[in-house]
Amino acid sequence: MKIMTCPFNGPRPVSEFFYWGEIRPMPDPATCSDESWADYIFNRNGAPGVKQEWWCHIASNTWFIAERNTEKDLVLRTYLFEEEL
């Protein structure tokens, strides 16, 4: 069983979580070009590497950030968004 650690509820099986993809800065939709908006909504950094991703612990609806190596499937750390501000 794979384990993910929710910053709030502790280590849990990964089946208790929801994955929402890599964190990416959003361009300003009012000022950016159609092309860079299309790039933002469609394109992804698909190659493996260490990525910052949104995850959610479903039972408690806790959204948090996981830093994960997407080739080795290693979670390096997890933290709440607020903690990084």
Binding site: M1, F8, N9, R12, P13, S15, E16, H57, I58, A59, S60, N61, T62
Partner: protein
């Protein structure tokens, strides 16, 4: 003022010929006895329905202050709960969300007091079940990834996890020797979870029981 208290989400599944219903207290009806073998089932593995209890939820950055002003003593830690001195309980789910249950006066007070800024109502249409008996752990092994016995060590804890694929909130009531696990889930999953739990319980010699049989 009277506010509507809905029937248990699994009400229809409880309509068996042998069930003894309790319709007192202006609450929706609940099953006090399922059938004559309730005590035996409860000793091994009983599943009872608590969904009829009155219940309210609030959340938001202003929730803690607002509830305190209403004179409620609140659990200081997130994911923990406190019993009210006059019955029922209050649970703190995360930093700024609360569940109040089982105390009609408290629930009425929360529903009727005008809310302050930063306080939002949370609709609670839970199915609420109680699990008891000597074989309860065998059922948990089949349905859940967290060992609920950690709750017995720290009975003020609230656990948010999933059971048979359904998100649940869990606490332990009863006593150390006869723990009773209380679990809440979204009412729309109620029937599925009830059938899953009672199905396993029957295989282990237990089954659905009435509330009177709980330790």
């Amino acid at each position: 003022m009277k506010f509507p208290s809905p029937l248990s989400p699994i009400h229809d599944a409880l309509l068996t010929g042998a069930a003894v219903w309790n319709s007192a207290d202006s609450l929706p009806p609940s099953v006090s006895q399922f059938d004559a073998s309730d005590p035996q089932k409860a000793a091994l593995l009983g599943v009872a329905d608590h969904s009829h209890l009155p219940r309210a939820g609030v959340k938001g950055p202003g929730a803690t202050g607002w509830l305190a002003e209403l004179g409620l003593s609140l659990p200081s830690r997130s994911n923990s709960w406190l019993p009210f001195p006059d019955g029922g309980l209050i649970g703190r789910l995360g930093n700024t969300e609360y569940l109040i249950e089982g105390n009609a006066a408290r629930v009425a007070q929360i529903m009727q007091t005008p809310r302050a800024p930063g306080v939002y109502p949370v609709l609670r249409q839970d199915a609420v079940f109680a699990l008891c008996g000597s074989r309860v752990n065998e059922l948990l092994l089949q349905t859940c990834n967290v060992d609920f016995r950690c709750l017995v060590a720290d009975p003020t804890q609230l656990l948010l996890t999933s059971m048979a694929g359904v998100s649940v909130l869990v606490l332990v009531a009863g006593n150390k020797i006869h723990p009773v696990y209380r679990l809440w889930c979204d009412g729309t999953y109620g029937l599925y979870l009830w059938e899953t739990l009672t199905g396993i319980a029957e295989e282990l010699g237990g089954g659905g029981i009435g509330l009177d049989a709980l330790p």
